[in-house]
């Protein structure tokens, strides 16, 4: 059931449920599109999350009650079908030197490290939302064999580029930061780059596929990224359809 939740006098959350769920995510993203298209005066920005859309607004232009009246018609007949999004193919090195938790994850899941990597690369992930850190994507859903709770002892510093898993999700640390997820690989790409506008590349509704690369390729691509010489381009929805994931 859809609910309006007040977040003080400058934000309102439209909540569709309380789970991380593809159907709820589709509703959130569909509403985000409608709200943006409606260009309601006073709405400053919208933030899609797993199960709700947070609308930041200026109550001097559109007070709370009026905002709810303006949103009500936009909620009618929302499509819960997931739409194809831009597909990003992200190279990941799973070599032990950049994957400090890979062996532990293998041990705890009863799989071989190779099988962990194979499974991690076996699905196309949906970007549910971006948050926690600038550009930090919440990607779902992991193959069920890889689902583990967060680490009991979070690290105080996780290196930027770390590819991680926890619960039903995967992510990529865009900046060095404290973190409690299991680090199973690293991408040479800069998912946060101040030289770009905007500096983050992934947005809610995008799709992500991971492609394993060896350590030497990682080093070469990392050098090119640092030099600002590597620009990842997404495949648009149409191209991605039926193309499969290269291995």
């Amino acid at each position: 059931m859809t609910r309006f939740l007040p977040c003080g006098d400058t934000a309102l959350a439209v909540e569709f449920g309380d789970r991380a769920d593809r159907r709820l995510s589709a509703l959130v993203l569909a509403l985000a599109d409608r709200v943006k298209a409606a260009a309601v005066a006073g709405i400053v920005e919208v933030v899609p999350t797993f199960r709700s859309l947070t609308i930041h607004y200026d109550p001097l232009t559109v007070p709370h009650e009026e905002l709810k009246h303006r949103l009500a018609p936009l909620l009618a007949g929302l499509d819960a079908t997931e739409r194809p999004g831009r597909l990003w193919r992200i190279p990941v090195c799973y070599h032990a030197s950049v994957a400090p938790d890979l062996f532990e994850v293998a041990e705890r899941t009863g799989l071989t490290p190779d099988r962990v990597v194979e499974l991690h690369c076996s699905v196309v992930y949906h970007v549910y939302m971006v948050g926690f850190l600038p550009g930090f994507p919440y990607l779902g859903d992991l193959p069920p064999e890889l689902v583990l709770p967060r680490r009991e002892n979070p690290r105080t510093a996780v290196p930027a580029g770390s590819v991680a898993i926890a619960t039903t999700q995967s992510s990529i640390y865009t900046l060095e930061s404290p973190g409690g997820w299991h680090l199973i690989g690293r991408t040479p790409l800069l998912l946060w780059d101040r030289r770009r506008d905007p500096p983050a590349i992934l947005a809610a509704g995008d799709k992500v596929a991971f492609q394993p690369i060896p350590l030497d390729a990682y080093a070469e691509l990392a050098a090119r990224s640092a030099a600002g010489d590597l620009h990842l381009q997404p495949e648009e929805a149409g191209e991605a359809a039926g193309s499969g994931i290269p291995r």
């Binding site: 939740l5 007040p6 977040c7 003080g8 006098d9 400058t10 934000a11 959350a13 909540e15 309380d18 789970r19 991380a20 985000a32 400053v44 920005e45 919208v46 933030v47 899609p48 999350t49 797993f50 199960r51 709700s52 859309l53 947070t54 930041h56 109550p59 001097l60 007070p63 709370h64 009650e65 939302m129 971006v130 948050g131 926690f132 850190l133 600038p134 550009g135 930090f136 919440y138 865009t174 900046l175 946060w192 101040r194 506008d197 905007p198 500096p199 983050a200 947005a203 809610a204």
Partner: protein, 355 residues
């Protein structure tokens, strides 16, 4: 010479801030901006800038800045501090500048701002503003990701802070007779968005107890010490968006009020949200200060929001000319061509009152 202020000493945590970076929260990019937009607007009004012009946000202890421009006009607002206007950066003592009053400094002179009292943050505005390229639409510094401000970080000794104007406008000084920075008796909150994750006892404790501002507070969040707020159904939620002033309660039960550099989303339940009109006063509170809360409805929050907006809009009308020659007028003349330590009446640069 590119007109600039040179950082002689950076202060504890001095950053360039305006009203923040809007429109990028969906990419996880925080809004940032001034913790106390009231004092920011006041400092800007005194030097004749639009209210949201980027200014230096000073936390706890201020910087020492040397003028490397023909002249520059500055004003300080937000609590009080010992503000010394120095003949040169190496001078040990100088004239005192009262808060809420502009001053013109010439090349070679310096301004030294001491420890803040009455607020943890204050603003130093320059006439015309700083010449820092906006990043994603804002000059605000978000140090964690190196965005905005001067090189994406707090000031360091030796930094040059470029100015938009090569010299101060040729006019008299101005001041704001007063600026009400008194905190509300109780900070007002709107319950939610996840008040249903807390026990009735926790909701009662929120509005019936006194909390103390923890020294672990920063631009991201104000940590409060006091009674632990009990969760009714766990302390994890499926992450959702975060509003300014959201009071999130992690597993230890101690609330954190999320401020300017708050993360855009979070996975802890938020029991209530401080109303926008009370956030500037909250941003001024020092560690050790007592905080109490009162729950109000949205209508009251919106009425208070309108009242604050009207107050800010009226600030420039309350700015008046500084009449007569004060010590500060004399200092306005300080510059490399003045050799005497004594400023005679003759040297006084009388300028007609502005208006």
């Amino acid at each position: 010479m590119k007109p600039a202020l040179r950082v002689v000493a950076p202060g504890l945590m001095t950053t360039l801030q305006d009203l923040g970076r809007r429109g990028y929260q969906h990419l996880g990019i925080p809004v940032s901006g001034a913790l106390d937009p009231v004092s920011l607007a006041a400092a800007n009004a005194i030097v004749g800038n639009p209210a949201g012009t980027g200014a230096l946000e000073i936390a706890y202890r201020g910087p020492t800045l040397a003028v490397e421009a023909d002249s520059v006009r500055l004003a300080f607002a937000g609590g009080t501090a010992a503000i010394d206007l120095l003949r040169s950066e190496s001078a040990s003592a100088g004239e005192r500048l009262p808060p809420l009053q502009s001053v013109r400094l010439k090349c070679g002179a310096a301004i030294r701002i001491g420890a803040l009292a009455g607020s943890t943050v204050a603003y130093l505005a320059v006439e015309g503003g700083f010449d820092a390229a906006p990043v994603l639409g804002s000059q605000s510094t978000y140090a964690r990701a190196g965005l905005g401000g001067f090189d994406g970080r707090a000031l360091r000794a030796g930094d040059l802070l470029p100015l938009r104007q090569p010299q101060a406008e040729d006019r008299g000084e101005r001041r704001l007779p007063s600026l009400d920075l008194a905190p509300p008796q109780r900070f007002r909150v709107v319950l939610g968005p996840q008040d249903n994750y807390f026990t009735d006892r926790a909701k009662a404790a929120l509005v019936e107890s006194a909390f103390t501002v923890s020294p672990a507070s920063d631009r991201m969040g104000m940590r409060l010490e006091g009674p632990r707020l009990e969760h009714g159904k766990g302390y994890n939620i499926v992450s959702d968006g975060i509003a300014p002033g959201a009071i999130q309660v992690p597993g230890n039960g101690l609330p954190i009020v999320l401020l300017a550099d708050r993360q855009t989303t979070g996975g802890y339940p938020k029991i209530a949200t401080v109303i926008a009109a009370d956030l500037p006063a909250l941003g001024r509170l020092a560690p050790g200060a007592q905080v109490t809360f009162e729950a109000v409805g949205i209508a009251i929050a919106e009425a208070e929001h309108r009242r604050l907006a009207a107050r800010l809009a009226a600030l420039p009308r309350h700015v008046v000319a500084v009449r007569g020659a004060s010590a500060v007028d004399a200092v306005a003349l300080l510059g490399s061509n003045l050799v005497s330590g004594v400023v005679s009446a003759h040297d006084r640069h009388w300028e007609p009152p502005y208006d």
